[in-house]
């Protein structure tokens, strides 16, 4: 075996031992790829989860009672109000997201074909609930009214239907999305954290000095941390994908897991390099942790993993093209959700390879330059 490769291998094995004997980091790795994945999958609420709705029923007719009884948990959390007066205060204080007013004579007017109006007030500061919740409430009300009317007189006009189908995730199950995105985010976070911590640990313990007087080059030192910590994250992610996502959460994965892992490895090349780079900029673990917070949050939140990229301002979209997470997320979504293969994701592969090479080169340059100050 070539001595350079042998050294890189041995130093990497040493990193693995170091991680193995660091209980805090081990617990973090295990936690983030099991509990955290599980909870982010299951805790992600359905959009309508016990949305508080206040109902003022001024009609008190069989129809209005039918409507009132159609709002129930888990989607809605109804509370009945006697008068209109409480509505504004309740909405102001954020007690209710919705307030429904059924006017006097509603049933009478419906039966007379006078098209009476029901008022639905929505607190639009609660974005997520407001939009889909109001649509859902409308469906419920109109459905109840239609059902009531249908019993009274049987008329049905055939119309043009819209057959809505969600592809790739037919039931729009949030666990799907949440679990895989949690893995993606954790891959990024842990790879930066582990690699950075591995270098800072050497620095804090003074062992970097030892390495530097030995016949090993900075390139070998850096590569050894990149491969070993990258491998740990990759193995943990694989485990999580098979046992937590597919096993525990029973999520069906469309595409090729091998392709996903290959792309994850490319991504890890970029993020572990970032970890080294950031570790050279900080002297201690606390400083590194603070820098991590500032770097990681934009990396994750603007990658398209939590909200669609096309909703972001154009300059943010373009800036984020330089971030590996953007391409990793895009490729992961294509492969894992839509079952896309290499013919679809090759642009991401190229991007990731380019970004990874650039990051590695930059980090190596900085690592070389700062080594003298570390010892």
């Amino acid at each position: 075996m070539d001595a350079r490769i042998a050294n890189t291998y041995r130093l990497g094995v040493k990193e693995l031992w170091g991680l193995w004997r660091d209980p805090v980091m081990l617990v973090l790795v295990v936690f983030f790829f099991t509990v955290s994945v599980y909870t982010s999958a299951t805790a992600m609420p359905d959009i309508l989860n016990k949305a508080p709705i206040a109902i003022v029923d001024e009609d008190r007719s069989p129809l209005s009672e039918r409507i009132v009884s159609a709002f129930y948990p888990p989607q809605f959390l109804p509370s009945s109000l006697d008068s209109l007066a409480g509505i504004d205060a309740g909405l102001d204080a954020g007690e209710y997201t919705f307030a429904l007013v059924i006017p006097t004579g509603f049933q009478r007017d419906v039966l007379a074909g006078r098209q009476p109006a029901i008022q639905l007030n929505v607190d639009a500061t609660r974005m997520s609930q407001a939009f889909s919740g109001s649509g859902y409430a409308q469906q419920i009300i109109l459905g109840e009214v239609a059902g009531f009317v249908a019993r009274q007189r049987a008329t049905a006009a055939p119309g043009v239907d819209l057959a809505l189908r969600a592809r790739f995730n037919p039931t729009l199950d949030h666990r799907w999305f949440g679990s895989v995105m949690a893995i993606i985010n954790n891959v990024t976070m842990l790879s930066i954290l582990l690699t950075g911590a591995a270098l800072i640990r050497e620095r804090e313990h003074g062992t970097i000095e030892h390495l530097l007087v030995m016949p090993v080059t900075p390139m070998q030192i850096m590569l050894s941390k990149v491969w070993s910590m990258g491998l740990v994250v990759l193995v943990a992610a694989t485990f999580s994908l098979f046992f937590v996502v597919q096993g525990l959460l029973d999520v069906r994965i469309e595409g090729s897991i091998a392709l996903f892992l290959g792309i994850a490895a490319l991504h890890l090349f970029a993020t572990t390099s970032m970890g080294i780079f950031m570790a050279t900029m900080t002297r201690t673990m606390p400083q590194f942790a603070m820098l991590l917070i500032l770097v990681l949050l934009p990396l994750q939140m603007l990658s398209g993993a939590s909200t669609p990229r096309e909703s972001m301002p154009v300059f943010v979209q373009q800036f984020m093209l330089a971030a590996p997470t953007t391409h990793f997320v895009a490729a992961a979504q294509a492969i894992l959700y839509r079952g896309a293969g290499l013919p679809y994701v090759w642009p991401q592969v190229l991007w990731l390879a380019a970004i990874g090479t650039a990051f590695f080169a930059l980090s190596l340059r900085r690592f070389n330059r700062t080594l003298g100050q570390m010892a």
Binding site: R10, I47, Q115, V160, F177, L297, P308, S311
Partner: protein
């Protein structure tokens, strides 16, 4: 509480102390006489520091009784009463100082803690700095002082309040001999002025212990002997305290110890056999010259010593020789090859042992040996054998499977040497290899060095600040301030100066070199008159009411430190702004520019009309039409299309005839929340198309039996930003201030300056509130910046009362920083503080504070947390003011719980903070 027993300064009775399972003190009984100097001698880890911190009241007594200045130190009231009369200088250069603060700022801080007014502080600081020679350096940051000056500053800080009991823990370790003798002269002068002041000193230098009135020799948590230095020498029939100490050790510890004799270096035939040569080696860091034109030649097989204080350039010189640091100027040769950091081959001929123990704590002894052997290219077949051989030679065979951290210091030092020797180098560079090791282990270590040099012909280049080690070298260089003062054999150096011993000779050279910069400007004697007029320290009874001055001194200091720490300052100033910017754009729920394509299997005017209806909206962007199902599948899979419509054949015909017909709409379900929104839009469009068509044809079935009037309040356009921004502010205003405040306290724990809380009259509440204040100020600044950003960058209007929001923000930031203080009371490391605060604030703030789900819809523990957590109430106020146009009167129900949370959080933090180390 008065010093009614002047003959005794402190008394320990059967004191036992454990750290976990480690025994630090075992049944120690000791009387410290008043008005005298008592020295504790012994190597590292024998319990000296523990004993001193117990007497100082910095550490809680576990077992036994500790009295100081006439009272029980386990009694809180006594401790609070006497702490102003005790001065404690912990171990470590400048341990209780603040490195980024200048000499002056450090002294001002301590003066304020002891309640001196500005004029009094200035007078004392002036006196103290003049008498210690620090006057010229008053503006220099403490971190940039030399070791000796740091210790003098530490002493000034300790003496600023005229203590009756001065406790010094290894005050001169690592300080050059001149500075050391100056330090002791200073103490002697102070004692002459303040008759009756007692001093307890711990030291690892046996030679300086000769000066003290009485000595206590300690080993393994026990007292070996007490008595005057002369009595100890007489008792052991030795001439040196070091030898006396060895003689006092229990027999099994002395086993195998013998007086070390190193045979003289045989004269080599040719003078050409030079292992190391340095010519004018120079190292500059900025405008600081660490090593200044150092030259020397070391023969093969020679033991060459570098003697000097901490920071005199020994380590830097060694690093240049190993190639760790590129020299700024000058050249050096190892075995005739010029030193070149890129020259891997020379590295194989050198073994290096750095100052602190720096092997891999996570690898076992065997793994450490094997790793180093492999990296140095020992053939794979020989690695195990070599490791075993080294272990046998250095007495490590029984420890092969243990982790280095579990080994005693002496054994670890031998492991370091074994690792440095594993590739059988011809040259060993050892940087202070025996610091803190007990005399027996040290002699054993030197025996190994002697064998290596004399038998194996290994050249040894060693640095030390112990005189007796220097005496063992063949030749030494005395170093000071980056320069070599003299190089010769120890005996020759002593002869040249006609000195009594090496120390005296060294001091003579130091004086010649002009190392007088920090000697007193004027004699202290003239101050004796002032000193006696100094009023006695303030009455103990007044000292423990909350003092604004002391709290303020902590605030000022915290603000100064924060300003000088770029990473924390950045995080504090712009961290939340950066995040607000990101979250404003990142958590954008608006759906726009959705791509869609149509698979029109009908191709009639009617079907095209349907597609046009969709393409005409701002939300949707039409892409080239689809030709087949396969293309639909492919383009959706690639993520190009978010929506695909399939209009079936015969669509127009069936519609016209009134037959039921279904249009297929395929949505990309990869991102479920987005898919739901898309579905909503598509349904809306479909309904609109139906209504339009009904109106156009005037047919039946149009218009349902009832109408729903939906009114979107506060945010009629249902846009993300106006909804998100007021909710993001409370979260950011919680996370960063809490994190930074937690760090502020835990940092002091990590760096050791928390001792100032333990041993000065500052109370817990003064400490916490003082530290909190700058962060509340910063958080409010952040709040104003975020509010401004919301209104300008994000264009979210503020409809309600800004005054109400501001008052709420004040209350809220006090809560947020209070939560940080609370977190700091139970975390020990900064990293733990950082992560626990982040998790502890983010989870309740995001999940239970009504950001996503209203608090009213929560159940169980979540509902309880949501009802009491300050973030819930501030969120309601923020949304109320920004979006709902509310003011004080409308939001009173949220103000009350917020105001109530302030005292609850702060009181809990104060109660949980400890005023002593356990």
């Amino acid at each position: 509480m008065s010093s009614s027993t002047p003959s005794v300064a402190a008394r320990l009775d059967a004191v036992t102390h454990h750290y976990g399972k480690t025994l630090a003190l075992a049944e120690v009984t000791l009387v410290v006489p008043a008005g005298r100097t008592l020295g504790l001698i012994g190597p590292d880890g024998v319990g000296k520091s523990t004993l001193l911190s117990l007497v100082a009241g910095a550490r809680a007594v576990q077992q036994g009784r500790v009295e100081a200045l006439g009272g029980d130190m386990a009694d809180r009231r006594h401790r609070e009463g006497v702490c102003a009369r005790i001065a404690y200088m912990p171990q470590g250069l400048g341990k209780n100082l603040y490195p980024t603060l200048s000499v002056d700022e450090n002294l001002q801080f301590f003066g304020q803690l002891f309640g001196h007014d500005a004029a009094e502080r200035e007078r004392r600081i002036d006196e103290l700095t003049r008498s210690t020679g620090l006057h010229a350096f008053r503006q220099r940051p403490a971190g940039k002082l030399s070791g000796g000056m740091k210790q003098k500053l530490g002493l000034c800080c300790a003496l600023i309040h005229d203590p009756d009991l001065l406790i010094l823990d290894e005050p001169t370790t690592g300080v050059d001999p001149l500075a050391r003798s100056q330090f002791w002269d200073l103490i002697a002068r102070i004692r002459a002025e303040r008759v009756g002041m007692s001093v307890i000193v711990a030291t690892a230098y046996m030679d300086e212990a000769q000066r003290f009135d009485s000595l206590v020799a300690m080993d393994a948590g026990r007292i070996l002997a007490t008595g005057t230095p002369d009595a100890l020498l007489a008792r052991t029939r030795t001439t040196h305290l070091e030898a006396a100490f060895v003689a006092l050790l229990p027999p099994q510890k002395r086993a195998g110890h013998r007086t070390l004799v190193i045979p003289p270096l045989p004269a080599t035939p040719g003078a050409a056999d030079i292992a190391i040569e340095a010519r004018d080696l120079t190292m500059r860091f900025g405008d600081f010259v660490a090593v200044d034109h150092v030259s020397f030649r070391i023969r093969r097989g020679e033991i060459f010593g570098f003697l000097g204080s901490n920071g005199c350039g020994k380590t830097t010189t060694m690093k240049m020789l190993t190639g760790l640091l590129p020299a700024s100027a000058g050249r050096a040769w190892l075995f005739g090859h010029e030193v070149n950091p890129k020259d891997i081959a020379t590295r194989r001929r050198v073994g290096y042992m750095s100052q602190a123990f720096s092997l891999y704590g996570e690898l076992t002894v065997a793994q450490n040996l094997e790793l180093h052997a492999r990296l140095f290219g020992v053939p794979a077949s020989e690695v195990t054998e070599r490791a075993a051989h080294m272990a046998a030679r250095f007495g490590l065979t029984e420890s092969m499977d243990r982790l280095p951290d579990a080994l005693p210091l002496g054994l670890r030092q031998r492991l370091s040497l074994a690792v440095a020797m594993v590739h059988e180098p011809e040259l060993l560079i050892l940087d202070e290899p025996t610091s803190g090791v007990d005399p027996v282990a040290r002699d054993h270590f030197w025996e190994l060095l002697a064998t290596l040099s004399r038998r194996d012909g290994v050249t040894i280049f060693v640095s030390t600040h112990f005189m007796n080690e220097a005496e063992r070298c063949d030749r030494i260089s005395l170093m000071h301030a980056g320069r070599v003062l003299v190089s010769d054999s120890p005996a020759a150096i002593v002869r040249k100066r006609a000195a009594r011993d090496l120390e005296e000779a060294f001091i003579a050279y130091l004086v010649d070199a002009g190392a007088r910069g920090d000697v007193p400007d004027r004699p202290v004697a003239t101050e004796a008159a002032h000193a006696t007029t100094v009023p006695p320290t303030p009455d103990a009874r007044h000292r423990h009411v909350f003092s604004l001055a002391r709290a303020w001194s902590y605030s000022v200091r915290e603000a100064l430190e924060l300003r000088r720490d770029p990473v924390r300052a950045t995080l504090a100033l712009v961290g939340s702004l950066i995040l607000m910017f990101i979250m404003g754009f990142g958590i954008n729920m608006d759906v726009q520019d959705l791509t869609f394509a149509v698979l029109d299997l009908d191709q009639t005017a009617q079907s095209r009309d349907y597609a046009l209806n969709l393409g005409g909206s701002r939300t949707f962007v039409e892409r080239p039409a689809l030709a087949s199902e396969a293309e639909l599948d492919r383009r959706m899979r690639s993520g190009e299309l978010s929506l695909a419509l399939v209009i079936p054949p015969g669509f127009a015909r069936d519609v016209a005839r009134g037959h039921g017909v279904a249009i297929g709409a395929y949505i990309d379900g990869a991102m479920p929340s987005r898919a739901e929104t898309i579905a909503g839009y598509v349904q809306g469009m479909h309904q609109a198309w139906l209504a339009e068509r009904a109106r156009a044809t005037g047919g039946t079935g149009s218009g349902g039996p009832a109408v729903i009037e939906t009114r979107f309040h506060y945010n009629p356009a249902v846009e993300s930003l106006p909804a998100m921004v007021p909710a993001v502010i409370p979260i950011l205003l919680l996370m960063f201030p809490a994190m930074l405040t937690a760090l502020a306290v835990v940092r002091e724990k990590e760096l050791g300056s928390i001792l100032n809380l333990y041993v000065t009259p500052v109370t817990r509440s003064e400490f916490l509130f003082g530290k909190q204040l700058p962060y509340v100020g910063l958080a409010l600044l952040n709040f104003l910046a975020m509010a401004l950003m919301a209104v300008t960058v994000f264009e979210v209007p503020m409809k309600g009362s800004f005054a109400a929001l501001f008052v709420a923000a004040v209350l809220y930031t006090v809560c947020a920083t209070g939560i940080g203080l609370l977190a700091s009371t139970f975390t020990r490391s900064q990293v733990a503080a950082l992560f626990s605060t982040m998790i502890g604030t983010m989870i309740p703030a995001v999940q239970f504070s009504g950001m996503i789900d209203p608090v009213s819809s929560l159940e169980g523990a979540g509902a309880f947390i949501g009802r009491i957590y300050p973030a819930s109430h501030f969120l309601t106020i923020s949304r109320g003011v920004f979006s709902k146009g509310l003011g004080f009167d409308d939001l009173i129900a949220s103000f009350l719980p917020l105001a109530l949370a302030v005292p609850v959080i702060l009181a809990t933090a104060v109660l949980l903070l400890r005023k002593q180390e356990t």
